[in-house]
Symmetry: C2
Subunit: 323 residues, 2 copies
């Protein structure tokens, strides 16, 4: 069976099982958004994210946007663990014909995003490649294991929340590649959700400091996939209400003007918001720390339901075409 | 000017200048083999290394050897800083037709090498790519800045040493791709230098613990390039003696049987030994900790000379063809 038939996520999960891990490793390969390792009384939180020209960077993205995206993707994984960003490294696979100026603009995008998140860009590597390839690796820190926003933290009764609106990035991507006939003003509002996504590192950090058994994961693979993944990891289910999903008025206008099915826009992913589950008793305190939109509740009954109807767990999978 | 014209190393160096760096970052982007960042009284040492099928993995390498190589390359950068390996992450760019079993064998190689170096494999990422791409990121630790084997540490009078013999990997590669008519026994002795290189993490760690102002860098880009790079970074020069270079009898036999010029075999790189410079007064103590082969001396006069003749600084450069 080849990788395409099996699907990326299962392959990685399978491979990661049983691999070398010292006792200091508290969250292991394949378990969560990042690994976490004890060091000198702190917990290191580490992730890597690789992106390739053909798959991840539509032609009309600028080089600076490409740089911002690879940095944001890595920082978003740190956010999903509640970690404070510390360092970022980027390895470049570069087609030999790439202009220095283009490489410079990528780095400028990386640098901008790092600055926004008080993260130090500390190094990289450059090799010749057939396709522009960017591989980031980010390291963050939490003060103790209890701060980690682990995927396994959800329990029945917890409130499922989003940190912001969903679906805007899908609109932004469609504007970029299809250039639909809609008002320029609308385009300008939706485009940045795809081209300049903001990782929720600060919001996540505030939640982490509560040490309140909060689960978190970003929705870059689609909000419903994220919910099913947290549910699976925690051995629970979720009941979501479509009427509670935070949707921007721009998204609704986009869907109306273009005739794109709303459900497709919502499922697509590429938004850098987080799904978090918060114990009901802690919700009020959590909502004071950062904006949260409750969208449902964690249930004992497995599976994820939207308005009572069970959703398929299919989110984005790098090796499978989208439904 | 495109990347090919400029050459990789200068491009990376240029781009890394002036980028975000907090005060906790003690060794910054583009300065050394790894970056180093203070955390909770320790120094994190971090590196990333990306390798691609066409450039780095000859067709006849097995998938397990590919896995060992990407892990060893990252661990060798930690060794060059004197760091104790802590964690390794690997991101995979995978052609969709790759068999699961092949991916599994790559991971098995990664895992073996991690175990050899007491390093925890803690995670990864997998995306679709046109060419098999492996990007590692390794984190290690030193107890204080003084332990770091920095490239800038060399001073006139220091002794230049190698941790082991040079040129064997070039022979191994030639055996793999050209399959010359030489004895199988000879092949079997030289092949592993290329297909199963050993990073010198333990040896480096012993030297680091001496806190003796030792400079180090691995010779994967060629021993003479490495010497000129340490010299450049430290603002010094070096006088090397060809008669002192540790050469295996297998290498000499290979050169004789195949007629390959010895100087080419020595300059090629891919060996995972270290060049270290040690203050003369500390040499005896250092040589008790780990095997060292003195090959010359650090000089005030800039440039690197072999038997009095100035060498060109040209080592391996990913974007330039070899001389």
């Amino acid at each position: 069976m080849n990788v395409e038939q099996e699907g990326e996520k299962r392959v990685v999960e399978k491979l990661a099982r049983g691999l070398t891990s010292a006792r200091s490793v508290k969250v292991k390969a394949g378990e969560d958004d990042c690994a976490s390792t004890s060091l000198a009384g702190k917990q290191l939180v580490q992730t890597t994210d690789i992106m390739l020209r053909k798959t991840h960077f539509p032609k009309k993205m600028s080089y600076e946007q490409i740089g911002m995206k690879i940095a944001a993707a890595n920082l978003s994984d740190l956010a999903a663990m509640g970690a404070e960003p510390l360092t970022l490294l980027i390895a470049f696979g570069v087609p030999p014909t790439l202009e220095q100026n283009q490489l410079k603009r990528i780095m400028s995008g990386v640098s901008k995003t790092c600055k926004e998140h008080s993260c130090s860009y500390v190094g990289g590597d450059t090799k010749k490649a057939r396709e522009l390839t960017l591989c980031g690796s980010a390291t963050g820190v939490v003060n103790s294991e209890k701060e980690l926003l682990k995927r396994t933290n959800a329990k029945p009764g917890d409130i499922v929340c989003l940190t912001g609106s969903v679906g805007n990035a899908a609109c932004g991507l469609l504007i970029l590649i299809e250039n639909p006939r809609i008002a320029t003003k609308l385009k300008n509002k939706l485009l940045p959700a795809f081209t300049h996504p903001k990782a929720r590192t600060r919001e996540a950090r505030k939640l982490a400091q509560m040490k309140a058994r909060i689960a978190a994961m970003d929705i870059t693979d689609g909000v419903f996939y994220t919910c099913s993944e947290i549910a699976r990891a925690s051995g629970v289910g979720m009941d979501l209400e479509s009427g509670k999903l935070p949707l921007s008025k721009e998204l609704l206008e986009f869907a109306e003007k273009t005739g794109k099915p709303l459900m497709k826009l919502l499922s697509y992913g590429e938004d850098y918001e987080l799904v978090v589950t918060v114990p009901e008793k802690k919700l009020k305190a959590a909502a004071k720390k950062t904006r949260l939109y409750p969208i449902g509740r964690v249930s004992k009954k497995k599976g994820v339901r939207l308005d009572g109807k069970t959703l398929s767990a299919r989110g984005y999978d790098a090796f499978k075409s989208r439904a």
